[in-house]
């Protein structure tokens, strides 16, 4: 899970507009309404039986038996297979492209290039998807310009995939090469400074006089922290299968986190009507933010289908996936000034992040520093360096995974300077208010995360001095860090169709990218409709379903669950209307809020003996189906901050002579509102912790700056943790009731789990070895240096 984000409040229509998300209000019968906000929702009585239980994935069986189909698996007769040719240079022009040899291969149908492609839109606006950053979006096969190495420059179309791939190796390209610059280091005089508070993702406004306070502080720490480019590497490679209908309409099976975003993009790029193209994505084998924007493969597959008037499948190779988005490389400088007693006087956080030459992608790394801890003076700066690379994109917990990594390492260094326990320092700087916006939190159980996490980990057994804990040849170290992320929610529409046999279809155009969305939607709907889990079928990943934003930012669980609740309430009201009309109805005088749905019945909350079964109500009203579709938005008067938090504790063991690092234990205590499903939620956190281990120790996209080219574009050489690297991980969800954020009190857990993990490990390595490594990944050469 993953997504778009920034720190701070990002809710409601204004935020969506800022993100470029525009609903088209497609469902005619849909009713719109905002969930009211103040003074707070009544605490829900636990009438539920499924929410909060560790239900197994409803799609688990389909996934393990192969019944679940992914974008590259949908079949039709007469399928054409595509294979992409990518540029070998990072900057310049295609001087000549010769597909003659490829076209002579038996079975090759066509080779599309910028020279012969069919018409595509010619304005930037047409290519700007719901979550596009400012700039001129990349247009595949548009012209002869080369903007990054790995850019698609030709699409070979053949009757068989093997033929397409062979022919792709025969396309000859001559370039007029220009000197590319791909290093985040250097040429910072050309960097673009982002205006403080200039936009949603720019650095926040400063407060106080941070430079002065830093200079005057009793204890100071200053450090520079580096994070390299990282790639998402979801298991499933990007793929699209475009079914060319008899009527010329297209059904596009794509791997994406937002079918409607892709559908709008394709309509706009190819000037098609809303009914001419349908985008489906029932399952995705991981995406982590890489599927938020439409990727070039889907545009090329549609281009080919329209050109040939045939169905087309295009699957990218693992290597080609490194030509898509990535987490931008960044250099962060943090200055912390403190009183000797361990309270903060000044926070100064500067970030320099990389983007492409054609779009300004950035997220707010710096603001987390000023948000999290009590500190009167804070100042931020963010510079962008434009490089001859593809545009970066959101990757699991964008901005916080990296910004909080730097902050939490700096806090650890400050604790050392103050001779304070790192956890103690966090508690002394604890804030009950969002320090940037100066707002109270709708809920914040971080203190409890620290307490429960420290206890489960055995933090009190840590000795303060670095290099003071040892087990044989290994130095033992313990480190901790705080995590923080936004709790966002987005406007969303949900349709429920209840049939007289007591089965409900729940539908929404959201995505399940492996997170468990199908499962939690089923749980919420079953509870709200008083049905067993297997009487609920969830449909998602189809652009014709009720409107949904892209699935990212950890906002989907809260958004869609409350959306289901809204629509289910409407279903309940409709059932009550029918029940009241029954002769001698036991609910004749019941108000809508006085009844609930349970065990297939409408039941009075006051007197459980007064009940009408769903089936009887519908039969008596001669209704065989109740269908309701409602649009739910989340009113926000801006009086509360909404965040999730975590406390991460890590134990490492480092071979003193050889620098071999083992992460032997991680405890992650998370406060994220009400947990819908502790099984899928814990799985989210555990996966995040594994990724955090990779971020700390392994992950790095290696660029050869002479060629401007990624040299480890595969998961043998781009290292992620393997089983041996992952040992004991304990996940704790602390109780965090939130009666303000939304009626169900849900926040979302897709991202919070990765925040702080790399810092906790880096801090533990320092504690073990006395060596502070400030650039990731912490590999053996940096430790022995």
């Amino acid at each position: 899970m993953n997504g778009i984000c920034r720190r701070g409040v990002l809710q409601g229509a204004a935020a969506l507009a800022a993100l470029g998300y525009h609903g088209d209000g497609r469902a005619g019968s849909a009713q719109h309404g905002a969930i009211p906000r103040q003074p707070g929702y009544q605490a829900e009585k636990p009438m539920t039986s499924y929410i909060g239980t560790p239900a197994s994935r409803v799609d688990g069986r389909a996934k393990v038996t192969g019944a679940a189909k992914y974008a590259g698996e949908f079949n039709t007769s007469d399928l054409v297979y595509g294979s992409v040719v990518t540029s070998s240079i990072a900057k310049g022009r295609i001087a000549r492209i010769d597909a003659g040899e490829a076209l002579r291969i038996d079975g090759v149908i066509d080779v599309l290039t910028h020279e012969n492609r069919p018409h595509m839109a010619s304005t930037d606006a047409a290519y700007r998807d719901d979550v596009a950053p400012e700039g001129s979006p990349f247009r595949p096969l548009y012209d002869e310009r080369i903007l990054f190495s790995g850019q698609p420059i030709a699409l070979v179309l053949a009757e068989e995939w093997e033929i397409a791939r062979f022919a792709a190796s025969l396309v000859r390209v001559e370039y007029e090469k220009e000197t590319a610059f791909t290093d985040v280091h250097g040429r910072h005089d050309e960097a673009v400074a982002l205006h403080p508070n200039g936009d949603l993702f720019g650095p926040p406004k400063p407060r106080g006089a941070a430079e002065h306070a830093f200079a005057a502080a009793e204890i100071r720490h200053e450090g520079e922290y580096y994070v390299p480019i990282e790639h998402h590497n979801p298991m499933e490679t990007y793929a699209a299968t475009v079914i060319f209908g008899k009527d010329g309409r297209l059904t596009v099976y794509d791997k994406t986190q937002g079918v409607q975003n892709v559908q709008r993009y394709l309509r706009s790029v190819f000037d098609m009507g809303p009914e001419d193209i349908r985008v489906m994505s029932p399952f995705a084998g991981g995406a982590f933010g890489s599927g938020l924007r439409p990727q070039y493969h889907v545009a090329l597959a549609v281009l080919a289908a329209r050109a040939l008037r045939r169905s087309v499948r295009l699957v990218l190779t693992r290597q080609q996936m490194y030509g898509l988005g990535y987490r931008p490389a960044m250099i962060q400088r943090i200055k912390l000034g403190a009183k000797a007693g361990g309270t903060l006087d000044a926070i100064i956080h500067d970030a320099t992040t990389v983007t492409s030459q054609y779009e300004n992608f950035y997220r707010q790394e710096t603001g987390w520093s000023g948000l999290l801890y009590k500190c009167p003076n804070a100042k931020y700066a963010h510079k962008l360096v434009r490089r001859d690379l593809a545009t970066p994109c959101d990757m699991r917990c964008p901005s916080a995974a990296t910004g909080v990594y730097a902050l939490e390492c700096a806090m650890d260094e400050l604790a050392v300077a103050l001779k304070l326990d790192p956890l103690d320092l966090r508690l002394r700087c604890y804030s009950d208010r969002d320090q940037n916006a100066d707002l109270p939190y709708s809920s914040k159980a971080l203190r409890e995360c620290y307490r429960q996490g420290a206890e489960a980990f055995g933090w009190d057994k840590r000795s303060a001095e670095p290099r003071s804990m040892r087990d044989g040849a290994e130095l033992v170290g313990c480190g901790m860090a705080t995590g923080v992320w936004d709790a966002m929610q987005m406007p969303i529409a949900v349709r429920i169709a209840l049939s007289a046999n007591g089965h409900a279809d729940v539908s929404c155009a959201t995505a399940d990218i492996g997170t468990g969305t199908y499962t939690i939607m089923t749980q919420v709907a079953a509870d709200r409709l008083g049905l067993p889990l297997d009487s609920v079928t969830v449909k998602l990943g189809d652009s014709t379903l009720p409107q949904s934003p892209v699935e990212g930012g950890s906002w989907m669980a809260a958004s869609v669950s409350n959306g289901i609740a809204t629509t289910a309430d409407a279903v309940r009201k409709e059932l009550l209307r029918l029940a009241k009309r029954m002769p001698n109805s036991p609910l004749a005088d019941a108000a809508p809020d006085e009844v609930r749905l349970a065990d297939g019945k409408l039941v009075s909350r006051r007197d459980a003996s007064r009940a009408v079964s769903i089936i009887d109500a519908m039969r008596s009203g001669a209704v065989d189906r109740i269908e309701q579709e409602h649009f739910t938005s989340f009113a926000d008067d801006g009086s509360y901050a909404h965040n999730t938090h975590s406390a991460v504790f890590a134990e490492v063991r480092v071979d003193e002579q050889l620098g071999v690092i083992r992460v032997t234990r991680v405890v992650s205590a998370v406060a994220a509102g009400r947990i819908l499903n502790p099984k899928t939620a814990a799985s989210q956190i555990m996966g995040s912790v594994v990724w955090g281990i990779g971020m700390a120790l392994h992950e790095e996209t290696l660029l050869d700056h002479n060629f401007g080219r990624i040299m480890n574009p595969n998961i043998a050489e781009y290292h992620v943790p393997v089983n041996a690297d992952v040992q004991d991980i304990k996940v704790i969800f602390v109780d965090e009731p939130d009666h303000i954020i939304n009626p169900l009190g849900i926040k979302g857990v897709g991202e919070i789990g990765i925040v702080g993990v790399a810092a906790a490990i880096a801090n533990a390595i320092y504690h073990a070895t006395g060596k502070r490594v400030r650039d990731l990944p912490i590999a053996v050469d940096k430790l022995l240096r």
């Binding site: 070998s88 240079i89 190495s149 093997e162 791939r165 062979f166 190796s169 190779t317 290597q319 040849a473 290994e474 063991r653 071979d655 002579q657 050889l658 620098g659 071999v660 083992r662 120790l697 392994h698 290696l702 050869d704 002479n706 060629f707 080219r709 040299m711 480890n712 043998a716 050489e717 290292h719 943790p721 393997v722 089983n723 041996a724 690297d725 590999a779 053996v780 050469d781 022995l784 240096r785």
Partner: protein, 338 residues
């Protein structure tokens, strides 16, 4: 990936005949490296000659008291074969330090000897590489060379040989049996792989058309005092930054015989018999091990990103010799360094 022909060889003579008829063909056994290279257009064989049905799958004792390993014995079967586990645990350990269980199930003994370097530039046809395209230049020398050679490299190539198994075979003084258009012959392991010089396109001294039929181990297996210590960028499933195969035999407290081979540092498993000779007669102490390490690394040369390997190798050698001397070989299942 190009189109290619596929043919199956019935026996060794047939395999050799087929290869002679089509010199741009390749033998394929497990294919765990070749297929990847074909997908990247690094290898472009006109034909694959499938040798998986050749009768080269036995592990058997030789009359001389050694063990002969058929070229098609899967790496997994070899690592878990009782003869190897009991008499040559160094070999078993090195095999299990490499790749993943799935790859070891597919990969053959002969194929392991013939795997190609993991140099990034060798794998990317968009960049110059003398090993892939002689005369085009070495991109690694002034590029990303953190994983590259510190010993025996040349101006033309600084790639390393990626095998773990071969490091153990080098330490154990194995021999390689080959068949070909000419007489069948035997190549000492030290002479099987070669240094790059100005012809880095050749990884080995196999002649065109030759096929590995077996690897033979001499009787001495060093089962009491050995270790295979591999240091890499994660705890499993990564190629060695530095690996050390160490084997000792004692006469009382004195070292009677020492074997020391390094992986991940050169174009071939790196051994220096003169250095091993200096350990003979000495007691197994840190000072002696450190002297041996310094001696073995005396000519080591680092490039921009890989100088750390010299120090890492020195530390690794001392540790590995310590493990071997103490009879506490590195476990490949438990990732803690012994």
């Amino acid at each position: 990936m190009i189109n290619f022909q596929y043919a199956r060889a019935a026996d060794v003579a047939d395999a050799v005949r087929q290869m002679a008829a089509d010199p741009s063909a390749k033998f394929i056994a497990g294919g765990t490296n070749l297929i990847d290279l074909m997908k990247e257009d690094v290898e472009r064989p006109s034909r694959l000659i499938d040798i998986t049905r050749l009768p080269l799958k036995a592990v058997e004792q030789t009359p001389a008291g050694g063990v002969r390993i058929g070229a098609l014995v899967p790496n997994s079967d070899l690592a878990y074969h009782p003869l190897i586990e009991q008499r040559y645990p160094l070999l078993a350990s090195a095999i299990l330090a490499g790749a993943s269980a799935q790859l070891r199930n597919m990969a053959s003994a002969g194929g392991n000897l013939l795997q190609r370097t993991r140099c990034y530039y060798f794998y990317d046809i968009a960049t110059p590489c003398n090993k892939r395209e002689p005369g085009s230049g070495c991109s690694a020398i002034n590029g990303l060379n953190r994983i590259h050679a510190i010993l025996g490299a040349s101006e033309a190539c600084i790639a390393t040989h990626p095998s773990d198994m071969c490091v153990a075979l080098a330490a154990l003084d194995a021999e390689v049996h080959v068949a070909g258009p000419g007489e069948a012959r035997t190549i000492a392991f030290a002479d099987f792989h070669r240094l790059p010089g100005d012809t880095p396109q050749f990884d080995t001294n196999l002649q065109q058309g030759e096929i590995v039929t077996a690897v033979e181990l001499p009787p001495q297996g060093f089962a009491a005092h050995y270790t295979y210590l591999k240091i890499r960028d994660r705890l499993s499933y990564a190629f060695a930054l530095v690996s050390v195969a160490a084997a000792l035999e004692f006469d009382g407290a004195a070292i009677k015989e020492a074997r020391l081979a390094l992986g991940g540092v050169a174009h071939k498993p790196w051994r220096n018999m003169a250095v091993e000779a200096t350990l003979r007669g000495q007691t197994a102490d840190q000072a002696a091990f450190a002297r041996a390490a310094d001696e073995l690394l005396r000519d080591a040369k680092g490039y921009e990103h890989n100088s750390f390997k010299i120090d890492l190798a020195r530390r690794g050698i001392v540790r590995a010799l310590t493990q071997a001397a103490q009879g506490r070989p590195q476990s490949q299942a438990v990732k803690r360094i012994m």
